[in-house]
Symmetry: C2
Subunit: 354 residues, 2 copies
């Protein structure tokens, strides 16, 4: 078991422990006393773990409500959010009660935003069941839903009261979801921890889940502590995301977020070499580890198309953006870049497969 204490605007623990699903009743009662626990989950995850979580909560005499939503990004909409609010109100969920977000990033973001705004804020517990949610989205209090025009445009900063991560739930992940999570994990190594990066190249993530999750969460904790509201250092976490997100949008989200982040990291590393910001060995190490995890390193689109997609990215509301650029493995720099200079970063580069 590893416990990581996060001190943001709220102080809470991230507990990483095999079998913690069965302790949820005890943990929640310990934190909040007797209350109603509202499990919000999706139709992929709930059939796998819903029964166990329900039992664990009932064992401690908590009243349990369950709301199971369709899986997938479509549920991260204002329409589904409105349904969640209606469900909470109709069931007279009160400010003393708690939401349990059981699932991956979509459920965590949506349930977190519901918790942030129902009765102007009630408590919630994150129970991440994907690797990406475990190492990233469940920690740090970014909650969100999407608009048609772009992802994560609506939301709030609202910290959970507990993150309970059970690595055993990760054994049921598909290969693609596993690898997508690994891309974000490699990102942590590249942006701030060279030792972790080389460890990941030697020992596969799935053979060291607890340690890997603990390392990523600790790093994220430190970054969030310094910049909870994402106005500075927290943007380091966007490493690989500028070009990655453009590719993701261009593919109409048919390529997974994690895969696009992998491609984005490969591109920005190569671009950094060309700009003389880092040594060639850095981009080689990045491409090598990504390949080891069967992650893509080249884009399905040309540099020109990517730059165009960056420019029309619905999420970019300014004439500048912050590029996160590697100086070495384990060290990155944020470079504020006018949009018109973006093509210069990719000029003449081979970013797509022949």
């Amino acid at each position: 078991m590893t416990i990581i204490n996060v001190a943001a605007s709220k102080v809470y623990d991230v507990i990483i422990k095999n079998g913690i699903l069965d302790d949820l009743g005890e943990r929640i009662t310990g934190l909040f006393g007797r209350c109603t626990a509202v499990i919000i989950s999706d139709d992929n995850v709930f059939p796998l773990y819903g029964e166990r979580v329900r039992k664990a909560l009932k064992k401690w005499d908590l009243k349990v409500l369950e709301l199971v939503l369709p899986n997938g990004e479509k549920s991260k909409s204002i329409a589904t959010y409105a349904e969640v609010m209606k469900f909470l109100a109709e069931n007279k969920v009160s400010r003393s009660d708690v939401i349990v977000a059981l699932g991956g990033g979509v459920i965590g973001d949506l349930a977190g935003f519901a918790a942030a705004t129902y009765l102007r804020g009630i408590k919630y517990v994150q129970v991440p069941t994907t690797l990406l949610a475990a190492v990233d989205s469940s920690v740090g209090g970014k909650t969100a839903v999407d608009l048609d025009i772009g992802k994560n445009l609506v939301g709030s900063f609202y910290q959970p009261s507990l993150v309970a991560c059970d690595p055993e739930t990760l054994t049921t992940l598909s290969s693609e979801v596993y690898r997508a999570g690994c891309a974000e994990i490699i990102k942590y190594g590249l942006l701030g921890n060279a030792e972790f990066f080389s460890e990941l190249a030697k020992v596969p993530v799935k053979e060291q889940y607890e340690k890997v999750i603990a390392t990523c969460v600790s790093m994220k904790r430190d970054i969030v502590k310094r910049d909870e509201f994402d106005t500075g250092k927290r943007q380091l976490l966007n490493l690989g995301h500028t070009f990655g997100h453009a590719i993701e949008a261009k593919s109409d989200f048919s390529l997974s977020h994690g895969f696009c982040v992998a491609i984005g990291m490969a591109i920005i590393s190569k671009a950094a070499v060309r700009k003389g910001i880092c040594d060639k060995s850095v981009s080689e190490a990045v491409v090598s580890i990504l390949k080891k995890y069967s992650l893509p390193t080249v884009s399905p689109y040309t540099a020109e198309i990517i730059c165009e997609a960056v420019g029309s990215d619905k999420k970019i509301f300014s004439s500048k953006l912050n590029l996160v650029v590697p100086e070495a493995v384990g060290k990155c720099r944020i470079i504020s870049t006018p949009l018109f200079e973006i093509p210069g970063w990719l000029e003449g580069m081979e970013v797509s497969a022949k």
Copy 2:
């Protein structure tokens, strides 16, 4: 001009000044520099003041966007909220921009919630144009929208960056809206300021707008400072609201909120006399001042019906509620009361007109 500095989780000024509408460009530029200002207003208020505000903003070279919604409580819905979010995103409003909420409580609550949650929070300025909004809802950071099942069930605590109150805008209020505002003003006197209370009985609110607004805002500021997130003392502001809200709901919102608060204050004062919590002179003073402002003091419903309405109030999610009870003019107490004891408070009382 009166400036009241509010120090909650954000520090900001409430400026009360005749003609401040014409200074909005200067004020906003002073706070945020050049940015886009999004005026959110309704079709009652915008035709009266929209042009002036637009001019004031353009004079300082701000880019101005305008979103005019239908007036009335119906606009405080998740559906309208979704429209606002779409408008902001389609117009590429960014985190450096500012929302200007020009209107009464509905616009302030809705625009505040939009500001709280668009891109996880952008800045907003409250420009209250009703008495109720000026003395109450524009200050303190409670933002909200309604669900079908009950009012204000969705929202967040999110402080504005500036409240700019122009008492001249209050001269266009209808008599009913004016009197409704006066009910909330009298509430401030009764809950915490005996001198103010007797002043209100002598000099009509409309003859001393700036002073009255400043007094109420200062009191609210002090309360919010001690309890921003409404877990204790802030509930004092609910004086008159328990029975008032039940009557309002029972009337299907055909009776205005302010009028119902007036009735609620009269009822709780009389009940407090019967319970021996305050002297008869208190309830007499309350009824007398309410009558002076042509506000109702008796309910259209019997005590029995009111108690039933309290019990089925969709906003009560607990088996207990906090009654705010006068001990004297200028002094109130919060009494945690189990729902089953509520009828005992009104037993045998004459609360309705014969």
